[in-house]
Amino acid sequence: MLAATLPEHSNDGYVAAAYIVFLAIVLIYVAIMAVRLGRVQRKVEELRGDTDTGRLARARESASEEEPSTHTFQGANPGGRGPRAEGEGKEREKV
């Protein structure tokens, strides 16, 4: 479509090549950035998963060690989040 509107010259190919090379370099760079971003996102998800797993394990640990009265306290919190979980929430805020 562009070629139809442009005048025809013998060096058209070189001009097209220069602009295509530039476009290709930018696109390759953007693709690399996208791959890197995907990796970072996966890492964030992994980290989030690890944090949640660790938190759950610690919560279970503390639940088994603590007094029955604490169990009652935990039972009052939906999702089994006790005081430790609150502390971790603060740590996450910092992140």
Partner: protein, 226 residues
């Protein structure tokens, strides 16, 4: 990475490129000697100017790093040089294509403009290997800054070499001898602005990505997952 300023920068870059390409192909007149081939000028020259400016900016950021010992300046300097290398590679390739079409050779070794640009490019190509050859992060940042400043001093030499050179195969773009007609000058300036915006956008994305990765690593270490 999803900040409003980055989005605004990206949109303005795309808009600037649309305007620049429209001007290049539909507004700027066809040059009398080179004909349609001269359209490469609006791509190659802004690329070269932005590359050299990026190297100088990298050097200035390195000075700020050495003065303040703030690691953020080192990161900025690194990203500016990294981006300039990519733009520099594009400038070299587009320049070679233009040279082949215009002079019949991919490269002319007795042309100071080309050779001095290549020297500056190759000099900066050693920046990353040098940087990552040093393990200690503080030493790495310090040495990289010294390198960026020293190499940055070579960039004005590129311009001076062009001005003082006797060989005039490569056309002179800026300066007193430049007599571009107004439509061509306008197109060139818009193309230069678009290229500078592209540099700023990619620089901002790269910087944001690098910062995110550094932060992620640090948090992983703090949480004991690495």
């Amino acid at each position: 990475m999803r900040s409003p300023s980055l989005r605004a920068l990206s949109i303005s870059t795309v808009a600037a490129f649309c305007v620049a390409l429209s001007l290049v192909f539909f507004y700027a007149p066809i040059e009398a000697e080179e004909g349609f081939l001269q359209k490469i000028f609006y791509l190659h020259v802004p690329l070269a100017i932005v590359t050299l400016a990026g190297f100088v900016i990298g050097g200035l950021m390195a000075i700020a790093h050495l003065r303040t010992r703030d690691a953020r300046w080192d990161l900025r300097s690194y990203v500016a040089i990294h981006m300039s290398l990519i733009f520099g590679a594009a400038a070299l390739v587009t320049g070679s294509i233009w040279a082949r079409a215009s002079w019949g050779h991919w490269w002319v070794w007795n042309e100071p403009t080309l050779v001095s640009f290549l020297i500056v490019f190759l000099l900066y190509a050693t920046y990353q290997p040098l940087r990552f050859a040093i393990e200690d992060p503080e030493r790495q940042a310090r040495y990289a800054s010294v390198f960026a400043i020293t190499a940055g001093a070579f960039v004005p030499l590129n311009f001076i070499a062009v001005r003082l050179s006797a060989s005039y195969v490569h056309p002179r773009v800026l300066g007193g001898s430049s007599n571009l007609p107004a439509p061509m000058m306008l197109t060139f300036l818009v193309s230069l602005a678009a290229m500078a915006l592209l540099f700023a956008t990619l620089y901002s994305y790269e910087l944001a990505a690098k910062r995110t990765r550094i932060l992620l690593k640090a948090r992983s270490r703090i949480l004991g997952f690495q």
